[in-house]
Subunit: 284 residues, 4 copies
C-alpha cells in the first residue's frame, strides 16, 4: 500500500495471551481509527502486530499517538511504535568500488521509487564520486589509510553529524568492528553477495563456481557483531549453469544483489520489518 | 499451519466500518479463544477476515460456534463460516486421458500430503481406470456417448450421490454446460494449461509456441459459466526458450499444472480461499 | 561470456542439411579459429548457429572475416554476420514520464554493466531532462505537438543523424506508425508492461487487477508493425496477490520491466538474438 | 526433445584444441547423420559435447557406432559414448518413511512421463510397501537390523542381481559407506532437502528455521564418498517467510524436493548429464 496522508503505521510486540487483538483494536476503535490493514504473527509465545489505520476524525501527530497508547502498552508488557508513512527516513549509504548496488539506490531515489531522504554517500574509494557530484548528493571520501580506529572514527563522525534512521551498506567491502557497531544507533542493512548461509566470507562467487551450484543469490540482512550472521530480511536467487564463469556469475549476481537490497530498504522504509531473536518478521 | 485438534477456522466478509476487528475479536476473547493467526483484507469497502484460533477452555463443536456468532453477524451484516481443520473435505475428481494432474492428486492423497477424502474419480476415458482399481479408489467411467444432456445427467447422478465438498477437474477435457453448473452446489476447481488470460480455449501450448513466449504456465481457477473466466486461485510459470517444441512445452507444462492444481486444492482444503466479484482472496 | 580482444562472434542461418556444421567448422579450423562456444538450433528445416571463437593466429578484422566466408555462405544459401564483441553498439533511447526503465539503462551504462554507447535520449516529456543533463547524455525533447507526421519527422531526423545500431523504447508511450517503422533501419526493442499476450494495449496493470491474476510480468520484444505483436525476446513475472492495488502492481511491475528490458538489451548487444518468422532465437 | 526412433545421442569429452568440432562433425557427415542438436562446452581446457543426430541412411545399432568412432576418439584422446534414446534405463529406487519423493518417481513412471524401467524399490521401512504391492513394482524390505556390513551386503545383492543403470535415493535416510559405494558401479542420484551447501547433514529444515532464511530448497546430486559433497545436478528453491514453522517448511519443501529429484532423473535418462572435477555439465 502506498503512503497516504492521514494514515499511521503501528508496530508492536509482547507476550501472547488471549484477548490481545481485542484489547489493541478496541483502543483504535475508540480513537476512531479505521484499520486498513492488520498483519499479525505469533511465534514461541511472542505476539507481533502491524496495523495501518486511517484517522477518520481529526489528525493526531505521532507523539500524541505514542503518548496515548502508553497505558495500554504498560498493561500488556508491550513494546510499540507509531510511524507517519509520509515521513522520509534519512539514509546514509556506504559503498566501495562496485557500482550496481549503490547506483540502484540512487536511481530509485531519483525516480521517487524509494521513499527516502538520501543524506550522504560514504566510500573508501572514488568510483562513485563523479556520479554523486553530478547528482548533488553529499559525498564523503574516507579512504582506508592509517590505523583502523582512526578510519572508523571518521565514519562515526559522519553518522553522528547526520543522524540517519538507516545505514545501507551497498557492497561496502570493509568489516565493521564491534566497537563501531556499538556506537551506531541506527539499524544497518547489508547486502551479501551470496545466498546465506552458503558461502560466507570472501569471494562467494568463486566458492559458488567451485562447488558447482545451479543457483546463485543474494541476501539483505541486518548487521550484527557476528559477520554474515545478522537477521535475514530478503533473499533471492537466479539460475546459473555450467556455462557461467566466475565473471558471468558476478555480473548476473549483481542484478540480484541490487534488487534484493532495494527491496529490503523499501520494506524497512515502509515499517514492515521487525527483529526477534536472530530472525526477522517481514510483513507483506 | 498444520491442522491441530482444538483449533477452529473462522472466515467472514462484510461491509467495512470502524471497529469491526475489535467487535469480532472481543467476541472471541469472551469465548476464551486464543487467536493463533489473523489475516484481514479490505477492498472497495468490503472487509474480509480469516482467523485460526485455539479453544483454551472446553471444545465447542462447529455448529455451536456457528450459532453463537449469529447475533454478531446480524449486527454487522456479515457472512461467515466456522470450520474444523481436522475434518477432511470430500472430493470428486474428474479427468480424461492426461494423467500427470490426476496422478498428483492421488499421490498426495496417498502420502497424506493433502487433507482430503477422495470419494471418487470420474472419467470419460479409461486411462486412469487400472490405477484407480489397484488403489481401490471408486471409479466411474462416463463415456462421451449419446446426447450431451444424457452424458451430463450421469455425471450429476454421481455428484448427487456423493455430495462432495469440492469437485476437481484435473485436466478434464469436456466443457460443462451452464445447466450442469447450476445444479452442482459444490465449488469446482479447474486447472487450465496456460497462464490465463493468455491462450484461452484449445491448444494453449500450440498457441504459446507460435507466439514465441518465453514462459509457459498454468492457472487453477473456480469454474463459472464463462469458459476460462472464473476467479483465479493460483498461477505459476516456468521458463522456456526457442528450443522447446510443442511436445516439450506440454511435458514441462504438466509439471507446473500439477503443482498449481495441488496447491489450489490445498488452499481450498485449508479454508484459505474466498471469492468476491470475480477475484479471489487467498490468505497465506 | 565477457567480451575479450581476439574473439569474434559469428551468427548464421540457412536451410538445414546433413554436413552443415562440419562445413562451417572446417572453415574456421582452416582459419585457426578456436571455437570457444557453439550454439545451434534447428526449427522447421531452418538451421541457426552462433559461434564465439578465438583467433589463435593473427587478428583479422570483421570485414576480412565477412569477405572470406562469402563463398561458403553462397554455397550453403546462408545469411551470416561477424561481430567484434569489443565494439559498443550505439543506442538511442526513447522514454516518456515513467523513469525506472530509462534510469536502469542509464545506470547500467554508467556502471559499465551494459556494453553500449548511449548516443542520445529522446523524450516527449521533460522528466528525464535534468538527469540527462547532469550526466551529460545528449537529450532531445520532441514534444507531442502539431500533427503526427511532423512529430515523427523530428524523431526520424535524430535517428538519421545518429545512426544507432539499436533503438530502445524504455516505456515510451507513443505508438509508432508503419511509415515511421519503415524508415528506421535499426532494430527497435520495446518493453511492454505485461506478460504478453495477456493484456495488450493500454493499462495492463488495471486489466491485471480486474482479472485477478496472481502473477504480473513484463515483455521485451522487437517492434513490428502490429502493436504488441513483435517477436518476444525476454519475459519475466513476479507474484502478486489480492492485497496488491493497481498502484502496488505498477510499483512492483516496474522492477520486472526494468530487469527484463536491460536483459534484452544485453542479449542483443552480445549478438545472441536472432529473429525468424515472428519468433526469436535467444542463445544462452 | 522427445526421443524418436532413428535418432542417436553422442556424448564426449577430451582436451580442447582447434578443429575439434570439425573433426567430429565430419565423421558424422560422412555417416550421413543429420545433427538435430549440438551442445558444446569448454572449461579449463577440457572440451565437452553432446550431439543428437538422425540417421538419414540405414539404422546402425549403438555398438556399431561405438566401434566406428573408436579411431577418431583415439586420435583426439577422447572419451565418448553413444546411446539409443528409445532404450529405457533400468532404475532401482531406495526410500525410507517419507513418501512424496518416491511417489513422484512412481507416479511419473506410471504416467509415462519418465522414460525409465523401474526395476525395484528398496526400503528400510514399510511405508511404501502397500503401494509398491498394489502397483506390482518389485519391493525389497531391507530393515536396518544387525551390523551395518550385513545390512549393506543385502542391498548390494539386490543391485548385483538387477544391474541397474541408475540408483535413485528418494529421501533414503541411511548414509552409504565408502565400501558400499566402491562396489556399486551404477551412478547414484540423491535428493538432499536443502539448498546445498547450506545446511548439510541432518535436519536442514530445522537449521533453516533457526537461521531465518527466506528461501528453502532442494538439491539433486551424484553421491560420492564425501557426504553431501557430490556434484550437483539440479537445485531449486521456494520462498518462505516468518510465518512458516518447521513443519510448514517440510511440507512445502517436499514439493521442491520431488520436482528437483524428478528433473535430475529425467536429465540423466536423456543422457544430458556429464561429470567433471566435482561439477556437472547439464546440457539443456
Amino acid at each position: 500500500m502506498r503512503p497516504e496522508p492521514s494514515t499511521i503505521v503501528f508496530l508492536c510486540h509482547s507476550p501472547d495471551r488471549v484477548g490481545l487483538v481485542a484489547r489493541i483494536t478496541n483502543f483504535f476503535a475508540n480513537e476512531n481509527l479505521n484499520i486498513l490493514d492488520l498483519a499479525q504473527h505469533t511465534e514461541d509465545g511472542r505476539f507481533f502486530m502491524r496495523i495501518v489505520g486511517r484517522e477518520e476524525s481529526a489528525r493526531q501527530d505521532i507523539r500524541t499517538w505514542q503518548a496515548k497508547f502508553r497505558a495500554v502498552a504498560a498493561e500488556l508488557d508491550m513494546e510499540y511504535a507509531f510511524h507517519d508513512p509520509m515521513e522520509r527516513p534519512g539514509v546514509v549509504m556506504f559503498c566501495s568500488k562496485t557500482l550496481p548496488c549503490p547506483m540502484e539506490i540512487i536511481s530509485r531515489h531519483l525516480s521517487n521509487d524509494l521513499n527516502i531522504s538520501l543524506l550522504a554517500i560514504v566510500s573508501n574509494h572514488l568510483e562513485i564520486a563523479p556520479i554523486a557530484e553530478q547528482l548533488e548528493i553529499p559525498f564523503h571520501h574516507i579512504p582506508t589509510v592509517g590505523d583502523a580506529h582512526a578510519f572508523e572514527s571518521r565514519q562515526l563522525e559522519v553518522l553522528q553529524l547526520l543522524q540517519p534512521d538507516l545505514v545501507v551498506l551497498a557492497r561496502y567491502m570493509k568489516i565493521l568492528s564491534e566497537e563501531f557497531l556499538r556506537q551506531v544507533s541506527a539499524p544497518i542493512i547489508n547486502i551479501h553477495h551470496s545466498f546465506l548461509p552458503s558461502f560466507i566470507g570472501n569471494d562467494p562467487y568463486e566458492q559458488a563456481y567451485r562447488r558447482g551450484v545451479k543457483l546463485i543469490g543474494a541476501t539483505a540482512h541486518f548487521v550484527t557483531r557476528e559477520l554474515d550472521e545478522g537477521p535475514i530480511i530478503i533473499q533471492d536467487v537466479t539460475r546459473v549453469n555450467h556455462r557461467f564463469s566466475v565473471a558471468d556469475m558476478k555480473q548476473l549476481g549483481s542484478d540480484i544483489e541490487k534488487q534484493v537490497l532495494a527491496s529490503a530498504v523499501r520494506k524497512f522504509v515502509e515499517h514492515k520489518v521487525m527483529q526477534w531473536q536472530g530472525r526477522t518478521i517481514v510483513f507483506h
